[in-house]
């Protein structure tokens, strides 16, 4: 590891420790926002692990999230301990992502986007149908887990995702994904098993979203398909990740924090205008920030450095 790696690692550890102190403030409102931010940070960062280098826009986050939520809820109902349900959610998420990946990653561009959107809807319909057959409407998730516990768990998962992202970035797999993102034809002709690399990363992000869903299940108390599989979640994750920038590991969080705060403020004062914010953010990203805040910051830094060089 280089000196820069150590520096990055220690800065991240300090920030993580600071973030972990939030529940100690004892303010419920801040804690709720903290959970939302932590949740979207994990989701958007793991989404970007796959979509950043490959440029495949996945709208399947809600499918994996809902899968995890139901996995935890059903597990608890059937007598499993909460802690057992999280690894099961991870394995299930990875498996489904693997199957979906094998079936769809040959699809290019817009077809993949549509398929992943359809997937969330499909899973939701299946769950709804299964509930109707069994005569249940929703599920109660009753645990001892508090909001602060959920927050700390999400922070821990976030740390794992960052470590995984860092390790992948330095590995052959990460290099392979960058090559695939640049030119898939070159990747194939360089001897890269492009399908395997993409499926592996899709599995990582699917498993992560599924575990997040599991961790959030106790917060909902009562879950039904429409809350667990909301398509809005998939869109929000994509927007926040793109707003921050997917070219860097720390990009998505730079989008998640301001967006969540803005979202909270708008839904508090103008609850009907959140969709407007969503649409507006899309426009801003497409027209003004194609590489997100990260691209903006790096562009500024380059300009400053150049000016210094000429001065």
């Amino acid at each position: 590891m280089s000196a820069r790696d150590w520096q990055g690692l220690s800065i991240s550890a300090v920030l993580l420790a600071l973030a972990a102190c939030l529940p100690l403030l004892g303010d419920d409102y801040y804690l709720t926002i903290g959970v939302t931010i932590a949740m979207y940070t994990v989701l958007a960062t793991s989404w970007a692990l796959f979509s950043g280098p490959t440029h495949y826009i996945s709208l399947a986050t809600a499918a994996f999230f809902g899968l995890g939520t139901y996995c935890t809820a059903l597990g608890i109902e059937n007598g499993l301990s909460y802690w057992m349900t999280l690894p099961i959610a991870a394995v299930l998420g990875a498996l489904v992502a693997g199957l979906v990946g094998i079936a769809t990653l040959r699809l290019s561009g817009v077809y993949f986007v549509i398929f992943t959107l359809g997937l969330s809807e499909l899973v939701r319909q299946i769950v709804t149908w299964a509930q109707n057959v069994s005569g249940q409407k929703g599920l109660y998730v009753l645990t001892e887990i508090t909001e602060a516990h959920i927050y700390w768990q999400l922070l821990g998962l976030g740390a794992l995702v960052y470590l995984a992202g860092w390790a992948i970035g330095r590995s052959r797999l990460g290099f392979a994904l960058r090559i695939i993102g640049d030119d898939e034809e070159v990747a194939r002709h360089s001897g890269i098993n492009t399908a395997r690399a993409k499926v592996l990363l899709f599995m990582v992000s699917g498993a992560t979203a599924s575990v997040v869903g599991g961790m959030l299940a106790p917060r909902y108390i009562y879950i039904e398909p429409s809350t667990a599989f909301t398509p809005m979640l998939s869109f929000l994750v994509v927007i926040m990740a793109l707003l921050g920038g997917v070219g860097r590991l720390w990009g998505p969080i730079v989008g998640v924090i301001p967006f969540t705060l803005l979202w909270e403020a708008i839904s508090a004062s103008f609850p009907n205008q959140t969709t407007l914010l969503l649409g507006f953010s899309f426009l801003v990203i497409v027209y003004l920030l194609p590489r997100g805040f990260v691209g903006l910051l790096e562009g500024l830094r380059r300009r400053v450095l150049q000016r210094e060089a000429y001065a």
Binding site: R178, I179, E185, G191
Partner: protein, 245 residues
């Protein structure tokens, strides 16, 4: 003939809808030879390379590498067996430096390397093509000839046994052309087997041991460059087309 056959095509055919781009093509390439694959525009040369490299599946026919069929293999499997290619329209990795472009070949090719070993190997390949001083440049800053050099260095970094060059010498000025020809000759002397798709006659004459001439997807002649270039049918095929040769 004593040299073993490295690559052979039997009845290789590629159809695009109604168009037969390559039709029932047979040829063999023997070890350490430079085989020219020539013919007028649109005669199916690039498509033939695409079939060999696995970029496109054959419609029918077989392709074997040292006696093992590779017809149904994916491009990455064929690359790992030591068949590497350049593209007629140069393909680089636009977000990366010159060195990283070449590392791509060193890391994932026929022989796989990582870390310092891959980097040192990539640097050696850049030296081979004369680009070692541009290692940290971004590929967007390169001149046309230098992009071709980077692509060749990437391909060479994978330690190929068989090299497919699709008009790699096209568009070079006379000095660059001379350097390019010398470079390809050196690669042959180092033991590579090369299929050279080319329109530049000087290069064909001075490099190729043997040529296969294609026209409208079929083989119309085969032999030494002198033989095929004086073959009346070949001359007709070239003149019949609006060709600069």
């Amino acid at each position: 003939m004593s040299a073993p056959t490295v690559l052979s095509l039997r009845g290789a055919t590629k159809r695009f809808g109604g168009l037969v781009a390559v039709s029932d093509l047979d040829f063999d390439v023997t070890e350490h030879e430079v085989m020219g694959l020539i013919g007028p525009n649109g005669s199916g040369k690039s498509t033939t390379l695409n079939l060999i490299s696995g970029a496109l599946p054959v419609t029918s026919g077989t392709i074997t590498l040292r006696g093992t069929p590779i017809t149904a293999l994916s491009a990455q499997a064929i690359a790992r067996r030591g068949v590497a290619r350049t593209f007629q329209l140069v393909r680089l990795l636009p977000s990366m430096t010159v060195l990283d472009n070449v590392r791509a070949g060193a890391v994932f090719g026929h022989r796989r390397r990582w870390g310092h070993e891959a980097e040192a190997h990539a640097m050696r390949m850049l030296e081979t093509v004369g680009l070692q001083r541009r290692a940290q440049a971004h590929v967007g800053e390169l001149t046309y000839i230098d992009t071709k050099r980077v692509e060749l260095a990437r391909v060479l970094a994978s330690d190929p046994k068989v090299l497919l060059l699709d008009e790699w010498l096209a568009g070079l000025n006379p000095t660059e052309l001379e350097e390019g020809i010398a470079l390809i000759r050196r690669l042959r002397d180092e033991g590579l087997t090369i299929i050279l798709v080319e329109h530049v006659m000087d290069a064909i004459r001075s490099l190729c041991d043997r040529c296969v001439v294609m026209s409208s997807g079929t083989r119309i002649a085969e032999g030494t460059p002198e033989e095929v270039l004086s073959d009346p049918e070949v001359i007709r095929a070239y003149l019949g087309d609006d060709e600069d040769a």
